[in-house]
Symmetry: C2
Subunit: 261 residues, 2 copies
């Protein structure tokens, strides 16, 4: 299995604190040593750092940790492979373009029977069930909405529905982001924390690091962090009910949708 990390903010924020703890699970405090990736949005575009080596030992991960890249939205994944060998094409998060926006996807779980599911114009580059599930989801969204719908709720509801259908085929925890909204589906295991004023102190679970968010934020800042398992020991994380799709926008939970067939 793998672990997921997502961040959505209303002001450019660096993901260093969360990523520092998370990255330790990639081969040090956790067994997820089969590659990692971290994608940062800048508007509609994204920069993805991907590496097929263990995150905890990756020079690229060290580089990312030593340069506080600020972003409004980020998605990360550390992989412990179930299907598909260790190679770049199998490394999450996966990226595709739709409506002139980058869409980024990372998955935790295994989904079966996907070769029979149409992916249309979105063709997998690698051989994971995860990328195929992403392509199938993107194909459905692109067919239903040839352009970005004016009503965001229509899109959100449709993603919840399609995710429920794909989710019937196995375990389908995922983070999907397009620079406008961050979608997080809890199938078996996912949680989030919203950080907002008054900001307190938080201490990582996986490394002896703590930060006083009050000293590095303004009262208007809002940051939502989603992860497979809580990253800090002294914050209140909300655990998802199986079959839930959370939608985050501008650093807050904008919707909680049922995503179960």
């Amino acid at each position: 299995m793998c672990e997921l990390l997502g961040m959505d903010c209303n002001t450019p924020t660096d993901i260093l604190f969360s990523f520092t703890g998370f990255s330790q699970r990639g081969g040090r405090t956790g067994p997820h040593g089969d590659g990692w990736g971290l994608a940062f949005f800048e508007g509609r575009a994204v920069r993805a750092f991907l590496d097929a080596s263990p995150c905890a030992e990756s020079p690229l991960a060290s580089f990312v940790c030593s340069h506080a890249i600020k972003t409004m939205m980020a998605v990360s994944h550390i992989r412990q492979k179930t299907r598909g060998r260790v190679k770049l094409a199998n490394t999450h998060p996966f990226v595709r373009e739709l409506w002139g926006r980058a869409w980024v996807f990372a998955h935790n779980g295994t989904v079966k029977g996907l070769p029979r599911v149409k992916t249309g114009r979105f063709v997998p580059m690698g051989d994971t069930d995860s990328e195929r599930a992403f392509c199938a989801l993107m194909n459905r969204v692109a067919r239903r909405f040839p352009t970005q719908p004016e009503d965001p709720a229509a899109l959100w509801g449709y993603i919840a529905k399609v995710a429920a259908e794909i989710g019937r085929r196995g375990t389908f925890n995922f983070i999907l982001a397009n620079g406008d909204a961050l979608f997080a589906r809890c199938d078996t295991k996912l949680c989030f924390v919203e950080r907002r004023a008054p900001f307190g102190r938080a201490t990582l679970k996986d490394q002896e690091v703590s930060v006083d968010f009050g000293a590095v934020t303004t009262p208007r800042d809002r940051v939502a962090v989603v992860a497979t398992a809580p990253l800090t020991v002294d914050e209140v994380w909300t655990h998802g009910e199986p079959g839930t799709l959370w939608v985050f926008r501008k650093g807050r939970l904008a919707a909680t949708l049922r995503s179960r067939a």
Copy 2:
């Protein structure tokens, strides 16, 4: 204007030597300080390092230069903007997926009147003429060849034809790569060198660095390097005739096509 760099090999090779000289033109020996990008293929997938800051001062460029990432195919670009402000979405090379392959594109020149050209399902994320030209080209290729054609020459000829059409609208030097072939179109300025046994010594033009390729290669290795201007002072670079499309495969020039309307 901008500068282009491409590499195509028959064995995994690092692009450090060429990129070291090239990167100096990004704000030090050349004026191209409006961002840079470097994309490395691994099979059908690609890793792109992108930065909107000058290449010669970029910590990410230093990282890339200090870690010899080996690849069979790479595309790089340093930008001196003509259209579109400095931001990630306007930073070359641009990436899209077709047929389960990453396609990577970098452009030197300015193309006009593109808003009237259809881009179909490939929608620009930024506001450069370059990304729009890439999307228009990809749309034509995807419509003509819904799947990868068995005869590669059919694809090559079609790309030469469409590039000629788009090229009528301005200056259209580009490098396009999909992991299988690297296409380089010379409109006004582009050159290449093929390195093969017996390997000699080469000295960079932009920095006091030289390398003895004989010491770091095997006799079967082949590497083709394409660039806007020669990167070395002691190798024979072939300069392109205006309206030529070169196709490189496995480190050698596979075809020279006419690409002029």
